[in-house]
């Protein structure tokens, strides 16, 4: 964060610093004002002031500045409508806030409270994701709409409806206690992982991915005894370490072909440290197991050094906790690396019924068939994957595999190395 006394700032810098402080400031204002929409309006007013003042110097504690400015604006607004005194009294009585204290400090727990409100299971998952990005990530409605391929008015309506329900049904603004916590943490982590994965679709922009990682760090810091939170953070960091080499000139680069020298070592080290701490705790869960699988990949100096047996053990555990078709697919691929493509193909086909419209299922089948030397069947599977592939990058990659299967110098075992 920029220190006070920094030189003149252009609008973009002000917007960036403001956006980073947004979630924390909003969460604190929701506690003061008891209303999300009122807090958003007050912050919007503060942003107009910030655009003017921050160009000269960004304050040392931007979130605190926003809270103070927005709060004063909100009180002025309420005073005009005759409710200001009531609000002041109420804020004073609450005791965790001193009236008149300069730059009233945001409490970091506020963000966690707001996260649990946004990810309340009484809201549908699309709304949970949108609310989290809007209220905690500070993204505009337009940015969120673009990320999820939804028209902006539809996204605005989704957000308005979710906020209406929070207010009308009184969805609480607090971190759940005791036995409830474990059950309620799970949707929070799921939402953050969905945000991260949506960010993976657009490797050029890291906004969603860095938001998801930033919010996961908040959860881990405030809930250090929850190994699944640490597992999620580790999973995202280990994935993130490979982002720079997942594409080459816009083309897909498979794990086996990636330049491992260019993986981000500092992210890997941090991720591996979290995974080790999780293993010491010995309370495994789906995110920790997925992070452990990524850790095995990140640990291998070359693709050939990958400890597939370890990965199979981890997938067996994951599948016992989360028996989804996609986990079955990944487990089949891992077993295929250890026991050969025939066994792998058998497992894929056993898991296949629900995966028939998933392009990666057919791509994996194609890969097994290719290794078995069955050129025609491999080609047919790649073709089916091509028909189902959701984006241009995957389509181009699959078209390349089909072209190889058609070419005269077809070598079953070398096909994916380019």
């Amino acid at each position: 964060m920029t220190a006070s006394g920094a030189g003149p700032k252009d609008k973009r810098v002000v917007e960036q610093v403001f956006r980073e402080a947004y979630g924390q400031a909003l969460a604190t204002l929701v506690r003061f004002l008891g209303d999300i929409t009122a807090a958003e309006d007050a912050i919007q007013d503060a942003f107009v002031v910030a655009l003017d003042r921050w160009r000269l110097a960004v304050p040392p504690n931007p979130a605190g500045w926003i809270v103070t400015t927005a709060r004063n604006r909100a009180i002025d607004e309420l005073r005009r409508s005759g409710r200001g005194d009531e609000l002041r009294r109420q804020m004073f009585l609450e005791g965790d806030y001193e009236v008149g204290r300069p730059e009233a400090g945001p409490v970091s727990d506020d963000r966690l409270r707001l996260m649990f409100t946004c990810c309340h299971p009484a809201l549908r998952i699309e709304s949970q994701v949108a609310l989290t990005l809007r209220l905690l990530g500070g993204l505009s409605v337009e940015q969120i709409a673009r990320s999820f391929l939804v028209a902006e008015p539809a996204m605005a309506k989704r957000l308005t409806r979710a906020k209406y329900k929070i207010k009308a049904a009184k969805i609480p603004y607090r971190v759940p206690a005791g036995a409830e916590l474990g059950r309620r943490l799970s949707p929070v982590l799921t939402v953050l992982y969905l945000i991260y994965n949506t960010g993976l679709d657009d490797l050029e922009s890291n906004t969603l991915r860095s938001d998801a990682i930033r919010l996961a760090r908040v959860v881990v810091r405030l809930m250090p005894d929850e190994p699944e939170a640490a597992g999620l953070l580790a999973l995202m960091l280990l994935n993130e370490s490979r982002v720079p080499v997942r594409r080459s000139g816009g083309d897909l680069v498979l794990l086996r072909d990636q330049d491992r020298q260019r993986w981000d070592r500092s992210l890997i080290e941090e991720g591996l440290g979290l995974v080790r701490a999780c293993i010491r705790r010995d309370r495994p869960g789906p995110f920790q197991l997925q992070a452990s699988i990524q850790a095995v990949h990140c640990h291998a100096p070359t693709f050939e050094d990958t400890d597939w047996r370890q990965i199979v053990v981890l997938y067996d555990c994951l599948f016992s906790m989360m028996p989804t078709p996609v986990v079955a697919l990944n487990r089949g691929v891992a077993i295929g690396e250890v026991e050969g493509p025939e066994v792998g193909l058998e497992l894929l086909d056993a898991a296949g019924a629900e995966l028939d419209s998933f392009h990666l299922f057919h791509a994996a089948r194609g890969s097994m068939l290719r290794r078995m030397g069955n050129r025609e069947a491999a080609r047919a599977a790649y073709l089916r994957a091509l028909e189902l592939a959701p984006n241009e990058v995957d389509r181009r990659f699959l078209a390349g595999l089909i072209a190889q299967a058609d070419s005269a110098c077809w070598i079953p075992d070398r096909e994916e190395t380019r």
Partner: protein, 121 residues
């Protein structure tokens, strides 16, 4: 405290929540009474009612200033409200805990809807 409607939904021609034998009926009623006593002890109970089936319902519409009656339920659906509780609770989480207890007792889905709060009430 906010007020919530907990409505009991049942599907026509299937009454999985209905006990069969008189002994089961007895146990079922005891569970219901125990739950209602718990609601009353906590100051959460406001009102409850069990409704007759949709065959007993009549819809009234105002057409050109005159009430017009039609036989049958408003919505031609297989699911109908079989009964309801009106409770008061601190927030949605508290209301959901009561809804969970009712659902467990009756073995039918429970819909939770907040009452509109009148200004000044």
């Amino acid at each position: 405290m906010s007020q919530y409607l907990l409505s009991v939904h049942s599907v026509e021609d299937s009454e999985p929540g209905e006990p069969r034998s008189p002994e089961q009926m007895q146990q079922f009623m005891e569970r219901i009474y125990a739950l209602e006593a718990e609601m009353k002890d906590g100051g959460n109970f406001l009102f409850t009612g069990r409704l007759h089936g949709p065959d007993a319902s009549t819809v009234v519409r105002s057409t050109g200033g005159r009430p017009v009656m039609t036989d049958g339920p408003f919505a031609e659906a297989k699911e109908h409200i079989a009964g309801f509780y009106i409770i008061q609770a601190d927030d949605l989480d508290a209301a959901l805990i009561w809804a969970g207890k009712v659902a467990e007792c009756i073995n039918e889905p429970i819909e939770v809807r907040p009452f509109f709060e009148m200004p000044g009430s």
